[in-house]
């Protein structure tokens, strides 16, 4: 087998070689980038909008918080009907025909929205609170039909809810213990306690924010803030970031599909778009083997610009 040195010597036979200092070029590039980065960082800084907490949400928009929590308790929120990996809601997973990859790994992160987002935190917060303990007992002692009747009536009433002294008030009606449960949950949330209770896992350390993020994602408050920051899906979504910073512009090929029909309304848009982007990335990787794609550089004379000096030198 011939060595690389021999094969390069043959490959470049007849081509003029010129002095070149790889190390110097690399060091100059590192220094140049350092100067550029220092200037950009000093002049433009970087985005860092503080996170929303459950507490700040409950204080800023208590009606949205209570409406979301009621939907979680009723099992009617986005997370409650999400399907895998959070629960086994039938026909909720995104599919293309019989292909349903969302179901392949099953329910790996089980979430019971009523228990995990409302009832369990309230049980933890009920210590020493006889009123809340009684309301919880009443709710959990009722049959599911009765619970749903209370929740439906309360959900309807929340459409005309008002806020007085930080508490959510609805027109009088037969809501059972639900208003008491929600008032208590709102109180815990406003104090910041729910942020901690949603992370409770029986161990001391915690780095998994799945539960509080899912709860916030089910509400409208975070989405409204995101819309102001031009971050929603129809605004090119996660490709952008807060402020006027460039964001993840390299995700344009992914984000662009969400702006176009039929993907902007398709229920399985995420699955279809990820598969399209994976296919396009594979095409890019296999360009050397795909006729037409590998021939375009020969047809489009950009290479004449790239090797301008070379072609000028050889034509003279």
């Amino acid at each position: 087998m011939s060595s690389t040195a021999d094969s390069q010597a043959r490959y470049y036979a007849g081509i003029r070689m010129v002095p070149f200092d790889l190390l110097k070029e690399g060091v100059l590039a590192v220094v140049g980038v350092a100067v550029l980065v220092l200037i950009l960082a000093a002049l433009l800084s970087a985005p860092d909008v503080p996170p929303v907490t459950i507490g700040s949400w409950a204080q800023a928009d208590p009606v949205d918080f209570v409406t979301t929590a009621t939907a979680e308790l009723a099992g009617q929120s986005g997370t409650a009907g999400y399907g895998p990996p959070y629960n086994g809601t039938p026909d909720a997973a995104q599919a293309i025909g019989p292909i349903v990859p969302q179901e392949w790994a099953g329910v790996s992160t089980p979430i019971d929205t009523a228990k995990d987002f409302v009832l369990h935190p309230l049980e933890l917060a009920a210590a020493g609170d006889a009123t809340l303990t009684s309301a919880l007992a009443t709710y959990e002692g009722a049959n599911s039909t009765q619970q749903q009747t209370w929740l439906d009536a309360y959900t309807t009433a929340l459409g005309n809810a008002t806020v007085q002294g930080g508490e959510v008030t609805v027109t009088p009606g037969d809501y059972g213990p639900v208003p008491q449960l929600m008032a208590s949950l709102l109180g815990v949330a406003r104090s910041g306690g729910l942020d901690a209770l949603l992370l409770e896992n029986g161990r001391f350390f915690q780095t998994d924010f799945t539960r509080p993020l899912l709860l916030m994602g089910d509400g409208n408050y975070l989405a409204n803030l995101a819309a102001v920051q031009h971050l929603t899906g129809d605004q090119w979504g996660v490709m952008n970031e807060t402020g006027s910073y460039p964001g993840q512009t390299w995700l344009w090929l992914y984000s662009v599909w969400y702006q176009l029909p039929p993907f902007n309304t398709a229920p399985n848009a995420d699955l279809a778009i990820v598969l399209i982007v994976l296919a396009l990335t594979t095409l890019l990787a296999l360009v050397p083997f795909i006729p037409i794609l590998r021939d375009i550089p020969r047809w489009v004379p950009v290479h004449r610009l790239i090797w301008r000096g070379y072609y000028r030198g050889s034509s003279s």
Partner: protein, 229 residues
């Protein structure tokens, strides 16, 4: 015992010797650290890849500082915020020049003459860099991280990887961002560079054939200098 007497005994089945000989044959130092290049390499297009690597060096350097002081530091410290800004803009420059490099190499059809593996590794670097940066965005612990994670989970779950790659799990995303992806990207970039050095830079498309008669590997001060764009 003399070396010549010992050599035949270790020659057969010696993995270390085989690897050394392979590297000496396929990745000679003269090509890893060249002091001469074909004159057509004097084009700005070849700078893009070098600048991208330079930006990657700063991404890693600033990332090490951020990791050292912990994920909360840059939110509460002016110096930390500045280091994060250096990290942020290094990433932006890395991607700008990586994309310029990619398109430059596409229009140069740089996969020709047996260089398809180099192109393939380059595309993999590009794809993994996108995921690496994505994990950085969702591990920021700010509003952007919350919103991006909440929305991105749908794509991950839809294709079935959400069970293993939970973007709502800060610990998982942070760990992947500061350990797995830096190792993956820098290793693949190193492989990409070694492949470039092993094969050399591809010749221009449709070479006219009327080249100079300089020997291909002539070295020394007497070598003529060609036009450098």
């Amino acid at each position: 015992m003399t070396e010549s007497a010992q050599e035949p005994e270790v020659d057969r089945g010696n993995w270390t010797l085989a690897l050394r000989r392979f590297l000496e044959r396929r990745v000679p130092l003269v090509h890893l650290l060249p002091d001469r290049q074909p004159y057509f390499v004097g084009s700005w297009v070849y700078v893009f890849g070098v600048v991208a690597i330079a930006a990657l060096i700063w991404i890693v350097a600033t990332g090490i500082v951020l990791v050292f002081f912990g994920p909360q530091w840059w939110h509460v410290s002016n110096i930390g915020h500045f280091v994060n800004a250096l990290h942020f803009w290094s990433v932006q420059i890395f991607f700008i020049f990586m994309v310029l490099h990619l398109w430059g190499q596409y229009f140069a059809a740089s996969w020709r003459d047996g260089r398809a593996p180099t192109w393939l590794v380059g595309v993999i670097v590009f794809a993994i860099s996108i995921v690496a940066t994505f994990t950085g965005y969702v591990a920021q612990q700010n509003f952007d991280a919350q919103w991006i994670a909440i929305n991105a989970k749908d794509a991950m779950n839809a294709v079935g990887v959400g069970a293993f790659f939970n973007v709502l799990n800060f610990g998982q995303m942070y760990g992947l961002h500061v350990l797995f992806f830096p190792i993956a990207v820098t290793t693949l970039v190193a492989v990409h560079v070694v492949l470039v050095r092993m094969r050399g830079v591809v010749k221009p498309i449709d070479p006219p054939g009327a080249e100079t008669s300089e020997p291909a590997r002539r070295s020394g001060p007497q070598a003529s200098e060609g036009p450098v764009a």
